[in-house]
């Protein structure tokens, strides 16, 4: 079976939750395990968050106590999912600033925005929770993160809980 979907949304932090839920809803037909769903959710969340705060340099989060509002910059993030049998391909793309040194960006704990108290673990999480990860980027043009995961390989019986 082949099934494909694409969503495009404004690069605002409110939409991080929407993107996660949309992707997990898309794959539920395959009866993935809870663990697989959690992995996919985390990986999508990392990629979309990266696009929003790094790609479009959305330094201020509107969801703060002061409720400060930044004028919206108009950037969009797209999430494409392709299911081929039990393989899930996810592409998260933005047309933001791009990454000059991809290798450095993917190092665990490396972050260009330490003032935001980010962990620098975004790409490490995507690598840990998906089977394959590929990053394409061109400074000034944008970044595309491609991830692949084989579904239905999780344990049938949860050993804990």
């Amino acid at each position: 079976m082949r099934n494909e979907m694409e969503i495009i949304f404004d690069a605002r932090s409110e939409n991080e939750g929407f993107a996660r839920v949309a992707v997990t809803a898309f794959v539920t037909g395959l009866n993935p395990t809870l663990e697989e769903l959690a992995d996919i959710k985390t990986a999508v969340s990392e990629a979309v968050t990266n696009s929003i705060i790094h790609g479009y340099e959305n330094l201020r989060n509107d969801n703060t106590l002061q409720g400060r509002q930044e004028p919206y910059h108009g950037g969009k993030v797209s999430v494409r999912c392709l299911l081929e049998e039990d393989m899930l391909h996810i592409e998260v793309a933005d047309r933001g600033v791009g990454i000059a040194d991809i290798e450095q960006a993917m190092e665990p704990l490396f972050t260009t925005k330490p003032e935001l108290e980010r962990s620098g673990m975004g790409f490490a999480f995507m690598e840990a929770f998906m089977d394959e990860l590929e990053v394409e980027s061109e400074p000034g043009k944008g970044t595309t993160v491609k991830m692949t995961k084989k579904l239905g390989v999780g344990d049938w019986i949860d050993s804990e809980d």
């Binding site: 990392e46 969801n63 980010r118 962990s119 673990m121």
Partner: protein, 107 residues
């Protein structure tokens, strides 16, 4: 998803108790850090306890929140604890290596 409320942050016996929302992501992170730091600076806080009872999702933003609070209290000998940790959260803590600085308490 639920908003982060002031009542989710309480100082009891020099311990800052933080009840985390259902989904801990970048969108919620700024708010959580602001509430937490207000109390960290104002009250006489030694340790921080993160309560994951209502939390079903956390990404690396949550790791950033924990690391940031750890930096602020560890120089005074403060410690970080986590309670009501489910399997997903435990995995996130494990993958990030944070189990070294966070003590997970069983209920």
């Amino acid at each position: 998803m639920g908003r982060v409320l002031e009542e989710d942050f309480q100082v009891i016996d020099h311990c800052l108790m933080i009840r985390l929302p259902a989904e801990v992501d970048h969108h919620q992170a700024a708010c959580i850090c602001e509430y937490a730091d207000r109390l960290l600076y104002r009250e006489d806080v030694c340790n921080v306890v993160f309560d994951f009872e209502n939390t079903t999702f956390m990404d690396s933003s949550g790791i950033g929140i924990i690391m940031g609070r750890y930096r602020k209290i560890s120089c005074f000998g403060g410690r970080i604890y986590a309670i009501h940790v489910n399997r997903q959260i435990r995995r996130i803590l494990g993958v990030s290596g944070l189990e070294k600085i966070v003590e997970v308490l069983e209920a």
